[in-house]
Amino acid sequence: MNKTILDLWVGLFVIVGIAALLFLTLKVGSMNTVTNSDSYEVVARFENIGGLKTRAPVKSAGVVVGRVADVRFDNEVYEAAVTLRLDKRYAFPKDTSAAIMTSGLLGEQYIGLEAGGDSVKLKDKDRIMITQDAVVLESLIGKFLYGNAQEGAPK
């Protein structure tokens, strides 16, 4: 076989192989930052986000309307600041509430948006004021046990 063609094939093979390795490291291994141009961002603060992760879906009425773009800890108010990247097609009223929910008993966590009644819509960089924290199963069980213990206490 012609030496140049042979070299070309091997070169292609090496490039494709290294591309596959890069795909594994970047796309499968860690974060990738693909920005969606047709979207706007809003921030919501939570006291406890449970196991919410970046790129988790944001749903309203069960339909995915956006993704979690960023999760940070706000050191001034000691709360988690979650940036939601929402699709431009969906506009929400200003008094929309955000809650952290779990899909199924052991499933992953997502943010559920419930539209309010305000006529003014949320804009880019706005903040969602009404939020509901993630339900932490341990504290829920703790409360239940504590409540029962109180009920059963001798009078």
Partner: protein, 262 residues
């Protein structure tokens, strides 16, 4: 009668030990004569074409189908627990850690390893290797070492391609066909797969498998009796021995790599 069979056993053992010793010396000789493989890199590139590029089709197609089957089976099982969002983790973890390096190595052994053995065995049978020695060309440096390094370089690339293709297959079936949420598929995968623990260990595995397969294939070819029957027997032995070696090595490597995790 008994004495005879004991003598036969002793003879077999001695031959086996002798072969292992010969194989180790052969490996050391490859290492010592590797200079040519790098100085005249064209030789290695030529062999990479035969063992690497020509294995691409079987590796890519198998990877795609293995990933698609993982997507289907994983979904069936995970769905029972309502956690089908974890499909990405299942597909990526099993491919990157185990299936990618191991299945790619098994395919490589049967596709490229057997070809190497047959080629070198025939070279020996037709006295091409002796002719080289006559011309003061070292056959280990000129024929064996380039094939060795070509295999060692190709193997991790093929394994990476297999894993990438498999994840794509899992994505096709899981997300596009069944309808698992795309964001959960990738985000859960990304948060679970670790570069050092999973991807790097997979690459190390495939390099080790590459060394094992090419050494076995080259040795079997070099050691084959110079007859048609001898070469065919050596080719079969290459596939069987290197497949078993890959699986055994995989267990040992996994035990070392992932036991210290917790």
């Amino acid at each position: 009668m008994l004495k005879e069979s004991i003598a036969r056993l002793g003879n077999r053992t001695l031959q086996g030990v002798g072969r292992i010793g010969f194989a180790v010396r052969f490996f050391v000789a490859i290492m010592l004569h590797s200079g040519t493989a790098f100085r005249r890199f064209g030789l290695t590139i030529r062999e990479m074409y035969f063992s690497g590029v020509q294995s691409l089709v079987i590796i890519l197609v198998s990877g795609l189908f293995v990933g698609m089957v993982l997507g289907l089976q994983g979904y069936e099982t995970l769905q029972t627990y309502g956690s089908e969002d974890a499909l990405g983790i299942l597909v990526a973890m099993s491919l990157v850690r185990e299936l990618g390096p191991v299945v790619a190595a098994l395919l490589f052994a049967s596709r490229a390893g057997s070809a190497i053995t047959a080629e070198i065995g025939l070279m020996k049978a037709t006295e091409q290797l002796s002719a080289m020695e006559m011309m003061a060309v070292d056959p280990i440096a000129r024929v064996v070492a380039p094939r060795f390094w070509a295999g060692v370089i190709s193997m991790p690339l093929l394994a990476a391609l297999f894993s990438a293709m498999g994840i794509f297959g899992g994505y096709l079936v899981g997300v596009q066909l069944i309808g698992v949420d795309e964001g959960s598929f990738w985000s859960q995968m990304q948060s679970a797969v670790d570069f050092e623990q999973d991807i790097l260990n997979g690459v190390i595995k495939s390099v080790v498998f590459g060394i094992a397969i090419t050494t076995i294939a080259l040795f079997e070819g070099y050691d084959a009796p110079p007859t048609a029957e001898g070469v065919s027997g050596a080719t079969t032995r290459t596939v069987v021995t290197s497949s078993l070696t890959v699986l055994a090595l995989d267990f040992v490597l996994t035990a070392f790599m992932f036991r210290g995790l917790s």
